[in-house]
């Protein structure tokens, strides 16, 4: 039986990747409407799919920069995703870098302060000039929301329905958290460091976003209080004037609008530490309810790669094709990225560029020639600890850490 559009689409997955092409670039999509696109595409067939999208979006991606835009998951609080086409470079520009907030950005403060309090011998109250006077450290790291990819998890779970765009890589400059803790004189009882930001919940009955990281992680060389991002002062949207940077760990640890650092004996209490941002200790059946005592706080994000281009659903001229994307792991540097152009039957090793590191992404590229017809590409990364991106992501009740092979399909004509 000839392979029809239905089988091709079901291989790609039940949901089309709307981040690949912003709706305003694809008039036919908006004409199809909000709810019926999938049904329309399935019934219209692959030829129409190819015709709907493509040359223009491809031109955008191949001739320089993708459109400078963000995708709105919610305006209040602000949750904005980076279009996937931007994941073809080492640094994600700040103005298209994704934004995640639980309660929305707080009112701007005239001068940010950080208090170092709790189990310390000398409590500190520091302003920008105090922090600028300390040794500055610069590093490059991926910031990724724990829920990135939630929209791809089956059965579906509530939460911000991110596809791939809740991640980005930037340079972060600031002071080591360790330097602040040592200046304050952390006492030996402390095991965790409580973190608070200046954003307040919409009413007191909503749990506040308070968290903690283990003291051991707080004392690592790479844990920073950042004052700048990609070389300019940290914008309010990204937690300015100060946010925590915890390379390799998911974004929930990267406290924005950081206002209090508190060494303490216990892990932080409250919803966002004891209920949210936790993973089952052992794999669970998809759809199962998991009691909090069977979970642990999530920390390092698993190995993952994302294809920036070609755009899913595009239509490209025959001849040389190039697949470009990023690969990273919170646990170890990337050791290889393999790409398949036949739906996962055979794999070729892609070329890597950029400096390897934990929680730091590299670019992968694979060039090949394709005859006319559909290309069913997939990418899978492997890190230096030997973990490989799985064909299917493991399910968990809040849809964290989706990292299945990224599959992208286009039509060569």
């Amino acid at each position: 039986m000839a392979r029809g559009p239905e089988s091709v689409l079901s291989w790609v997955g039940q949901r089309l990747e709307s981040e690949a092409l912003a709706p305003h670039e694809v008039p036919a999509y908006s004409a199809v409407g909000l709810m019926r696109r999938r049904e329309f595409l399935e019934s219209a067939g692959l030829a129409v799919l190819g015709g709907l999208v493509g040359p223009r979006a491809w031109a955008d991606a191949s001739t320089g920069s993708p459109p400078r835009s963000l995708l709105v998951h919610s305006l209040r609080p602000e949750n904005l995703a980076t279009p996937v086409a931007w994941f073809d470079r080492l640094l994600t520009p700040t103005d298209v870098f994704f934004v995640r907030s639980h309660f929305g950005a707080p009112a701007v403060v005239r001068e940010g302060r950080i208090r170092v309090e709790g189990l310390v011998r000398r409590p500190l109250d520091l302003g920008p000039s105090d922090l600028e006077a300390l040794p500055q450290v610069k590093l490059t790291a991926v910031l990724q929301c724990a829920g990135n990819g939630r929209a791809l998890i089956e059965p579906r779970v509530p939460g911000v329905q991110w596809l791939h765009g809740a991640m980005g890589q930037a340079t972060w400059t600031g002071v080591r958290l360790r330097d602040l803790l040592e200046r304050a004189g952390v006492t030996s009882e402390a095991l965790h460091v409580g973190l608070r930001g200046a954003d307040l919940p919409p009413k007191p009955s909503v749990p506040s976003f308070q968290r903690s990281i283990p003291l051991q992680r707080a004392m690592e060389e790479t844990t920073l209080v950042a004052l700048s991002m990609n070389g300019t002062p940290l914008p309010h949207a990204h937690g300015g004037p100060f946010r925590l940077v915890v390379p390799g760990w998911a974004g929930n640890h990267w406290m924005k609008w950081l206002s209090s650092v508190r060494p303490q004996v216990e892990e932080a209490q409250g919803f966002y530490m004891q209920t949210g941002y936790r993973l089952p200790k052992t794999p669970v059946t998809p759809g199962a309810a998991v009691p909090p005592e069977s979970t642990l706080p999530l920390t390092t994000f698993p190995v993952k790669s994302v294809i920036a281009r070609p755009a899913h659903g595009s239509r490209l001229p025959r001849g040389p094709q190039e697949i470009v994307g990023v690969a990273f792991s919170g646990e170890a540097p990337i050791s290889r990225v393999e790409v398949s152009v036949d739906g996962g039957a055979t794999w070729r090793e892609a070329a890597l560029s950029g400096e390897p590191g934990i929680g730091r992404w590299q670019i992968f590229r694979l060039a090949f020639d394709a005859p006319p017809g559909p290309v069913r590409a997939a990418a899978r990364a492997t890190d230096a600890k030997g973990s490989t991106q799985p064909e299917d992501a493991s399910w968990n009740p809040s849809g964290y850490f989706w990292n299945a092979w990224h599959r992208v399909e286009w039509e060569v004509v």
Partner: protein, 215 residues
């Protein structure tokens, strides 16, 4: 206002609520759109009454797009409602069935893909920038305190952090948006009644007081 209003009125209300005065236009260039047409036939019970509950009880704290992107089963929606009531959503028991039916039919688990709106990088950056104080500049904190005690305190509480009836104002971004603030004071929002007689000077006094509250 009766909750049993027509669907058209509700959609109009949502659209009007999302619209901003001209001076605010750059910050929110794409107004929140009304919910999509139901993906499957909504039962009568869940239609307009449910939409009105959403407007009054949910949108006080978050925008509608947060709901619109969800694809949940009836059971998941019921759990989400329980969670939000636990966090202080003021939905009365008599409205719960209508709310659950509305959410489960409007944002159903089998709805098609969610297509996010886009903002240009400039539009997105503008979301986070304080707006001009304009006619609300130079308010008087003491007069603001008196006005606050008279009109706002019953719902927004003495510390301005909100309570069962009102959302928090202390440290919230609306204090950076004088035009938005004045409009909300005059027109109300969700369950909040408007105070249409409020002058610019009075709105400025209130703003001055609220900005002085400790976070």
């Amino acid at each position: 206002m009766s909750r049993r209003v027509g669907v058209v009125l509700v959609l109009l209300a949502l659209a009007c609520q999302a619209r901003r005065p001209p001076e605010q236009a750059p910050s929110l260039p794409r107004p929140e759109t009304p919910p999509p047409a139901p993906a499957r036939q909504a039962p009568d019970l869940g239609g307009p009454a449910g939409a009105e509950v959403v407007r009054q009880d949910c949108l006080a704290c978050h925008s509608e797009d947060l709901l619109r992107q969800q694809r949940l089963t009836d059971r998941q929606w019921a759990k989400s409602i329980d969670k939000m009531r636990g966090w202080g959503a003021p939905t009365e028991p008599g409205d719960l069935d209508a709310l659950a039916a509305y959410l489960a039919s409007t944002y159903a688990h089998d709805s098609g893909p969610f297509l996010p709106e886009t903002l240009t990088a400039e539009e997105a950056a503008a979301l986070f920038e304080p707006g001009p104080d304009g006619a609300l500049a130079l308010g008087d904190r003491e007069r603001g305190l008196a006005l606050y005690g008279d009109r706002c305190l019953p719902c927004h509480e003495a510390d301005g952090r909100g309570g069962p009836q009102g959302v928090g104002l202390t440290g919230q971004r609306i204090l950076d948006r004088a035009a938005d603030f004045a409009e909300t004071v005059r027109k109300g929002r969700g369950r909040m009644p408007g105070f249409p007689e409020t002058t610019d000077a009075e709105a400025g006094d209130l703003l001055s007081y609220l900005r002085s509250l400790a976070r």
